[in-house]
Amino acid sequence: MSSRYSRYVVRRFLGAIIAVFAILTINFFIFRILPGNPIELLFRNPRLTDEQIRALEAQFGLDKPLIDQYFIYLINVFQGNLGLSFFYRQPVTSVLMPRMINSLILVLPSTLAAIALGIVAGLISAWRRGSKTDVSILLIGMSLYSLPTFWLGGIFILLSIYYLHLPVSGMLTYGAVYSSWTDLLIDFLRHFILPFITLTLVMFGEFMIIMRNTLIDVLTEDYVTVAIAKGLSQTKILRDYALRNAMLPTISIIAINLGLVVAGAVLTETVFSWPGVGRLIYDAILNRDYPILQGAFLFITISVVIANLIADLLYGLLDPRVRYG
C-alpha cells in the first residue's frame, strides 16, 4: 500500500471518530427535545404522590440540570455504562444485547438475500433495457419498494392462517423442548421464513433500482461501445467493463444497509412479533424510555459509521481517484 493510501485511511478514521462524538451529543439532546416527561407518562397513576414522583426522578437522575445530565451521560458511556432503563429497571445493555442478536438473525440474511437478488435483477434489467423483461422487473421492483411493510406482512399472515399454517409470531415455539438440533432448526425456520421473505421483498426494490440505473449509465459510456465494437463477449463486457464502474454507488448503499442491520426492522418485527431491536425502539418511544433509545441509537449509528468506513476503504481500493483526490 502506498503512503497515500495509508494517509487516506487515517483521514477516514479521524472522520469516523468525530462522527461518533457528534452522534453521542445529538443522541443525548434529541430525546430531551421530545415533548413528554417519562415519569408522568409511564406512571399515569392517580395514586402517585409528589414524594414518589421526586423519588423516581432522583433515581433516574432526571432532577439534575440538563447539562449535568449530559456530562454524566458522556462519562458513563465511556465506562460502558448506558444507564438504567426507565421501563424495565434494568441496565440498558442487558436489555439491548439479546434483542440485537435476535434482529441480526432476521435482518442480516434478509439484507444479504435482497442485495443478491437486487444486483442480479438490476443487471438483467439494465442489459435488456427497454425489453419486456426490463419493464416487468422494473415494475415488480418499484411496486415492492413502495409496498407498505405491514400490509405485505399482513397478507403473509393471512396466507399462513388459511393455507400455509406457519406460525406468525416469535422466533421459536415458546416453551418447546427439542429432541434434536434438526427439530430446533426446523422450528426456527418455520418462524423465520415469513418475516424473511417479507423483509427481503421490501428491500429488494431499492438495490435493484440502484444497480439498474447506474449500470445503464455505464453501458452508454464510450468505452463500452468500444468494447462491443471490439467484439468482446457479453460476459467480459459486463464483468470487466460495466460492473466494476457501476459497483461504486451500490457499495455505499450496501454499506449503509449492512450498518443498519443492528437497527432491526421496526415494521416487520412488529407485524411478526419478532423480539428484535426494532420493536424495542418502538415500545421505548411510546414509553419515553430515553436510556434505551440512546443506547439503541448509539449502537446503530456507530455500526453505520463503521460500515461506511469500510465502504470508504473499499472505495479507495476499487477507485484510485478517491484516494488521490
Binding site: 415533548p35 424495565y88 418455520r190 460476459t235 466494476r244 412479533s273
Partner: protein, 632 residues
C-alpha cells in the same frame, strides 16, 4: 452470462417457494403442546419487583407468584383467605392470623416478620404501593403467625392494602442494597406458581408449585406461559394461527367476526373495567380557553353530545354509554346517574341565556369577548377516538361552537396538558379525550379530582373543590363499607353536576380463546379472564386436548386424549367451592413423551434446502471475488 443470471434469479425464487411449502407441511411436535399460552397485546412486562412495577401485565402475571394476606372474589366485595387464615376487625385495628404451613419457593416458612417487612417496603416513597398503605399507623407482630395493624379505616385497609401488598421473603429482600432498582428475578414468592423462565419482550413461563399450602388452589396445568405482543392485532393473528390459546386484554373489533366464524374460538364480552371520557380544562389557573370554566358552558356542551351514538360509533356494540367517572363493575359505582340528555335545542337555549352570542362567523362569543373555539386532544394510538372527536365537533358546530380535533401520541399529549409555567405545572389544553382502567374494588379513581392533582400530572380537568377534597378524606377514614359507598356516591354526584369530566362510554371489550384447547375458567370477572384482573384464571385453566396439527404425531396425541377426562365440568366459583384439581389432567400433562422425530426424507430435504440458500449467498460472494481477481 445473462442466461446464467436469469437461471440464478429464477432458481432462487423457486427455492424460496419450495422451502416455504416444505416448512408449512412439517410441524415439530414438542412439549410446548402442554403449555397453556396466553397472549397479551400492548404495554409489555416491565419488572418482577412488585413494588416498582406499573405495567398491568406484570401485576397479573405474578398475581399467583406472590401471595397477599387476603384476595378478592369476583364480586370484589368478599375476601378470600390467602396467607391470612382468619382476621378480626374493630374500628381501629385489623389482626391477621397467618397460615402455619406456608413456605416461600425456596422452602423458608412465611411468618409475620415477612408480612411486616413487605408492608415496610410498600410504604417506602419509591414504592407504587405507598398510597395504598397510607392509612397504616402502626404494625405489631404479636407472634410468628399473628400480626396486628393499627389503621385509620379498617375497611379501606382491607380494600386497598390487604388485597394489594404482595408478601415477599424478608430473608432475601433485607439483603438487597437498593430495593427500588432490584429486578427480583427469579422472583421468590409463596404462591401456587413459580416463575421458571422469562425472556424480556417475549414471554414469561409459570410452573405449578406442587407444595403450595392451600391444596385446593393447586393449579390444573403444569405450565402457563404469557406471551407478549406489541399490539392486540398481532396477538389476535397469533391466536388464529394457533401460536397461542387466548388473547388479552381484548381482541380488536376488526377481527371479531373472523374469530366468531371460526369454530375453534369462543368469543365473549367482558365486564367493563375501561372507560373513555372527555375532560374539560376548568382549572382556574389554567392556560386553556377560559369559557370552559363556566359551568353553563360545560352543561351545554354535555347536552350536545350523544354518548350512545359515540359508543356504537367507536366500538360497534362493545361499549355502553356511561354517566359517571367509573365503570359499572366498580363497587362504588353510583347507579342513580344517567347520561345528559342529547338535546341541541336545550344546549342552544342554555348558551343564549348565558349571553354567549353568535358572532358573524356563526361561532358564539362569551360576554367578555372570548370565542368558543376549542382544541380536542385525542391519543393517536386509538384511531376510533379521532372519529369520536370529529363527531362531537360536528354536533357542537350546530350550537355555534367550533372544535378542532388533534391526534397525537400520549407523550406529546401529556406534555401539552400538563405544561410547566415558571416551574409550576398547570393545564395547557382545552379538552382531551382519554381513558382510565379502574380496579373494581378501589375508589382511588375519585382522587383524580382532588384539588392538588394538577401538579401531580393526573388531573386533566383541574377540578378544584375543597368540599370534594374533605369528602375524599372522610371516605378514607370511614369505618364501614356502606359509609364509604355513601360518600363515594355523593362525590360522583358532585362530579356529575360540575362536569370536570363528561364520561362517554365504558368498554365491554371482546376476548377470545381457543375452546378446543382450554377450558375451566370464569368468564365474568371484571375485565374478563384475560384482562389482567382475574387471579384465579391461572389456577382454574385446563387443557381440553392437545392439538393435532401434524400427522406424524397423531398416535401420541390419541394416546393422550384417552387418558384425559375431567371430573369438574362446570367452572367453580372461587369464594364458596374449592378449586378442584383433576388428577386426570396431571396425568395427561406429565405422560407426554419427547417430541416425535420428523422422517428422514423431510430432514434431508430440509438440509438440502438450507444448503441451497447458503449457495445463493456464497455464489454471489465468489462471483464478486473472481471478478475482482480477473480485473486486477
Amino acid at each position: 452470462m445473462k442466461k446464467i443470471i436469469e437461471k440464478f434469479l429464477i432458481t432462487s425464487i423457486f427455492v424460496m417457494i419450495i422451502v416455504s411449502t416444505f416448512l408449512s407441511m412439517i410441524n415439530v411436535y414438542s412439549q410446548a403442546e402442554n403449555i397453556v399460552k396466553i397472549g397479551w397485546g400492548g404495554t409489555s412486562f416491565d419488572t418482577f419487583n412488585p413494588f416498582t412495577t406499573y405495567a398491568q401485565v406484570s401485576g397479573w402475571a405474578t398475581s399467583d407468584v406472590y401471595d397477599t394476606l387476603v384476595r378478592f372474589d369476583k364480586t370484589y366485595t368478599k375476601f378470600i383467605p390467602d396467607l391470612a387464615e382468619s382476621w378480626e376487625m374493630n374500628s381501629t385495628h385489623v389482626v391477621f392470623h397467618l397460615v402455619k404451613n406456608a413456605t416461600f419457593h425456596d422452602g423458608v416458612p412465611v411468618t409475620a416478620y415477612d408480612v411486616n417487612y413487605s408492608f415496610y417496603l410498600a410504604s417506602q416513597p419509591w414504592s407504587r404501593l405507598s398510597p395504598n398503605v397510607e392509612g397504616v399507623e402502626k404494625i405489631d407482630i404479636i407472634d410468628n403467625y399473628t400480626i396486628a395493624f393499627k389503621v385509620k379505616s379498617p375497611i379501606i385497609f382491607m380494600f386497598m392494602a390487604a388485597t394489594a401488598v404482595p408478601i415477599v421473603p424478608m430473608h432475601i429482600w433485607e439483603k438487597v442494597s437498593d430495593p427500588s432498582t432490584y429486578p427480583d428475578y427469579p422472583p421468590i414468592g409463596s404462591g401456587p406458581f413459580k416463575v421458571v423462565d422469562y425472556r424480556e419482550g417475549q414471554y414469561i413461563l409459570l410452573q405449578k408449585n406442587p407444595s403450595f399450602f392451600r391444596r385446593d388452589w393447586i393449579p390444573n396445568v403444569d405450565k402457563i406461559m404469557i406471551v407478549f405482543y406489541s399490539d392486540v392485532t398481532s396477538a389476535s393473528n397469533a391466536l388464529r394461527a394457533g401460536d397461542i390459546d387466548a388473547v388479552g386484554p381484548y381482541v380488536p373489533v376488526a377481527v371479531v367476526n373472523d374469530l366468531m366464524n371460526d369454530p375453534r374460538f369462543a368469543v365473549f364480552k367482558v365486564r367493563p373495567v375501561l372507560y373513555f371520557y372527555m375532560a374539560f380544562n376548568m382549572y382556574p389557573e389554567g392556560k386553556g380557553n377560559p369559557t370552559l370554566r363556566d359551568p353553563v358552558v360545560r352543561r351545554a356542551l354535555a347536552h350536545a353530545v350523544n354518548v350512545s351514538y359515540l359508543a356504537e360509533l367507536a366500538w360497534h356494540g362493545y361499549a355502553q354509554p356511561l354517566a359517571t367517572v367509573m365503570p359499572t363493575t366498580n363497587i362504588f359505582y353510583d347507579p342513580n346517574l344517567k347520561p345528559y340528555e342529547f338535546n341541541l335545542t336545550l344546549a342552544n337555549q342554555l348558551l343564549d341565556q348565558a349571553g354567549y352570542k353568535r358572532g358573524p362567523d356563526g361561532i358564539r362569543v362569551s360576554p367578555n369577548g372570548t370565542p368558543m373555539k376549542y382544541t380536542i386532544l385525542v391519543p393517536s394510538n386509538m384511531p376510533e377516538l379521532v372519529r369520536v372527536g370529529q363527531q362531537i365537533a360536528l354536533w357542537w358546530s350546530q350550537i355555534g361552537v367550533s372544535a378542532d380535533v388533534k391526534a397525537m401520541d400520549t407523550g406529546s399529549m401529556a406534555s401539552i396538558i400538563w405544561t410547566k409555567v415558571d416551574n409550576k405545572t398547570t393545564l395547557g389544553h382545552d379538552i382531551d379525550i382519554w381513558d382510565w382502567f379502574v380496579t373494581p374494588g378501589d375508589p382511588t379513581i375519585l382522587s383524580v379530582f382532588l384539588s392538588n392533582q394538577v401538579i401531580m400530572g393526573t388531573s386533566d380537568s383541574g377540578y378544584v373543590n375543597p368540599e370534594y377534597d374533605s369528602l375524599y378524606q372522610k371516605m378514607l377514614e370511614a369505618k364501614d363499607l356502606d359509609t364509604v359507598k355513601e360518600i363515594a356516591w355523593k362525590m360522583q354526584e358532585m362530579l356529575y353536576r360540575d362536569l370536570p369530566y363528561l364520561p362517554l362510554y365504558q368498554v365491554t371489550a371482546p376476548q377470545a380463546y381457543n375452546k378446543n384447547r382450554i377450558t375451566g375458567f370464569d368468564l365474568d370477572w371484571p375485565g374478563g379472564p384475560f384482562g389482567g384482573y382475574d387471579w384465579t384464571v391461572f389456577l382454574k385453566i385446563k387443557i381440553v386436548s392437545p392439538t393435532t396439527s401434524a400427522p406424524a404425531t397423531t398416535t401420541t396425541t390419541t394416546g393422550l386424549t384417552t387418558t384425559t377426562s375431567f371430573t369438574a365440568t362446570t367452572p367453580v366459583s372461587a369464594s364458596a367451592t374449592p378449586i378442584i384439581s383433576t388428577s386426570a389432567t396431571q396425568v395427561a400433562t406429565t405422560t407426554t413423551t419427547a417430541a416425535a422425530l420428523p422422517g428422514i426424507s423431510v430432514e434431508t430435504s430440509l438440509i438440502i434446502a438450507i444448503i441451497i440458500i447458503v449457495i445463493i449467498v456464497l455464489g454471489v460472494v465468489i462471483w464478486a471475488t473472481t471478478r475482482r481477481g480477473k480485473a486486477s
